[in-house]
């Protein structure tokens, strides 16, 4: 078993053995359920199934980014706060193993949590039709958005001294990346194009929401994930110099 998977397994079991993971999962499912019932299903029965599904993924994108902040805040900051980072740092494992292990565990938990809400789009079948391709594209979008948000959260957790600071920093970074798009609309080209492309939601998520997979959007989310994880590793390596 590689060190990455060993760390991921321990971390995943920590989510399942402690209240924190369940609280986040329960809160996400509860909020998604309420929002889905109120806005996606709503009182307007004339809407098309695809519009309802699109609305569902739109609502889930907000909760998944919020959940990512709360799931990732503890990953490295808690280890440092509790002094358990010493166990990892004094073992023959690389920073890459630590960061990837933590990331994989949170991503798996986030995926489990997201899949647990699959009954909501299935409810559309009661009065309408469901496109499997649309559902798959929407969930892929959620998975990629969650992955990018988690990676940003891990970077914040690597930088911050406490979990609370990590949550604030991570929330700030995710909101900042959302706001890049509106900020772009206030600027001139070519800067506006750059800002539109860097924004984490407005340009890259709506196609998934509508059931369309663009390679550029997949690449964008993977690139954000890679870049944030890479920086997290560098932050951990730099700590050995301090």
């Amino acid at each position: 078993m590689t060190a990455t998977w060993l760390i991921a397994r321990r971390e995943l079991s920590a989510y399942l053995r402690t209240m924190g993971g369940y609280v986040v999962a329960a809160a996400v499912l509860f909020v998604n359920g309420i929002l889905f019932n109120a806005f996606a299903l709503g009182a307007d029965h004339s809407r098309l199934s695809t519009e309802v599904l699109s609305q569902f993924f739109y609502l889930c994108s907000g909760t998944i980014m919020t959940a990512s902040v709360f799931l990732s805040m503890r990953l490295l900051a808690e280890e440092r706060q509790m002094g358990t980072m010493v166990l990892l740092a004094s073992s023959p494992v690389r920073e890459r193993d630590i960061v990837l292990g933590k990331f994989l565990s949170a991503l798996l938990f986030l995926a489990l949590m997201t899949v647990a809400g699959v009954f909501m789009p299935l409810l559309i079948l009661v009065n309408g039709k469901l496109s499997v391709g649309h559902v798959a594209a929407g969930y892929l979008g959620l998975f990629l958005l969650g992955s990018a948000s988690l990676a940003i959260g891990i970077l914040a957790s690597a930088l911050a001294r406490t979990q609370l600071l990590a949550a604030i920093l991570s929330g700030g970074m995710v909101v900042g990346m959302i706001l890049l798009y509106p900020l772009g609309s206030l600027t001139e080209r070519p800067l506006s194009e750059v800002l539109f492309s860097l924004g984490i939601w407005h340009k890259h998520f709506p196609p998934f929401q509508a059931g369309i997979i663009h390679l550029r959007d997949v690449v964008y989310y993977l690139a954000v994930t890679y870049f944030a994880l890479f920086l997290s590793m560098r932050v951990l390596e730099a700590r050995r110099w301090r």
Binding site: I7, R10, R17, G83, M85, V86, L87, S90, P92, R242
Partner: protein, 314 residues
């Protein structure tokens, strides 16, 4: 086994340690002493590959820490002052995790965990949740994680920190039980623990090594070899100090009248002369009120070395 050469670590402009040089032979148990902020933890963290030095070198079995950190970490067991424990895990699963992290093969993990639990008297706690253990047991789990992969070198930073007197004795026995199997570098504030556990001492002050050697070597280098005694008699009889000097093993005897009307003799001797002193004082018709060893020799050495300006000859 461990060679430290001109090791320095700066935090910004401030030097935590400066030009530390020492070596530790295989199988030695070495005590690392110093006041708070002297640089002990920084040194131990560099040796544990947790921190990189600003300059100088640390070699373990001819491997340099900055070049072969992963190889060295496999050979080291590290216990920081706060044991690195996951409170939600059971003792057994935590030790298995620590063993796997240190590359113990899957098939050997259970046996290594059982062995570490036996050595640290944790067998009955195998299925207990760490968060529900007492401080003493947590410290033992911390020690168990440091030895679970049978490292050649054990680095223990304040292993008795926060323990009650009974637990300190238990920890000392555990540490003595590790003798012979590991080379141990141990820091502690408990001088008696160091004195009873270690073969050799390294004394650090303001980031510099101010003394190293066995307790006797350090004492003789400071002209403090011998035993110190305090004897208290009723009444004022300072002249008896000269009579005490007639005992051949006594090098120094000073009388000190007290406010209670008694006299205390501070005695330095080359051997344990309590019986001779008692016989002489009682034979001289004095009421012997108290006869006990004076301040510990290690305490005296430590205070002497850590109150000198750094750089002074040990």
């Amino acid at each position: 086994m461990i060679e430290v050469d001109k090791l320095s670590k700066y935090y910004g402009e401030r030097a935590a340690i400066r030009d530390l040089s020492f070596s530790i032979a295989k199988g030695e148990v070495v005590g690392f002493l110093g006041l708070n902020g002297a640089g002990k933890t920084t040194t131990l963290r560099i040796l544990g590959c947790l921190l990189l030095p600003t300059s100088g070198s640390v070699r373990l079995d001819d491997l340099e820490v900055t070049h072969h950190p992963y190889e060295i970490r496999r050979r080291i067991g590290f216990l920081p002052d706060v044991p690195p424990l996951y409170p939600e895990m059971t003792v057994g699963s935590y030790l298995a995790f620590a063993a796997r992290l240190r590359r113990v093969p899957n098939r050997d993990t259970a046996a290594r965990v059982a062995e570490a639990e036996d050595k640290t008297a944790l067998r009955d706690m195998h299925n207990e949740i760490i968060g529900e253990l007492s401080h003493g047991y947590r410290q033992r789990v911390g020690l168990a994680q440091a030895i679970v992969h049978k490292p050649a070198v054990l680095i223990l930073d304040e292993p008795s920190s926060g323990l009650d007197p009974a637990q300190i004795v238990e920890m000392r026995n555990l540490l003595n039980g590790l003798r012979g199997e590991h080379t141990v570098l141990l820091s502690s504030h408990f001088l008696s623990e160091i004195s009873q556990t270690c073969d050799r001492l390294l004394i650090i002050h303001n980031g510099q090594l101010v003394g190293q050697g066995s307790e006797s070597e350090l004492a003789s280098s400071m002209g403090q070899s011998g035993n110190t005694l305090e004897a208290e008699i009723g009444g004022q009889s300072p002249d008896l100090a000269n009579r005490l000097l007639e005992i051949s093993a006594i090098r120094q005897a000073k009388a000190r009248p007290t406010a209670d009307g008694t006299t205390v003799f501070d005695i330095v001797a080359n051997a344990d002369v309590r019986a001779e002193v008692a016989r002489l004082l009682v034979g001289a018709g004095c009421d012997l009120l108290r006869l006990e060893r004076g301040e510990s020799r290690l305490e005296s050495i430590f205070m002497n070395l850590t109150q000198r300006p750094p750089g002074g000859a040990p």
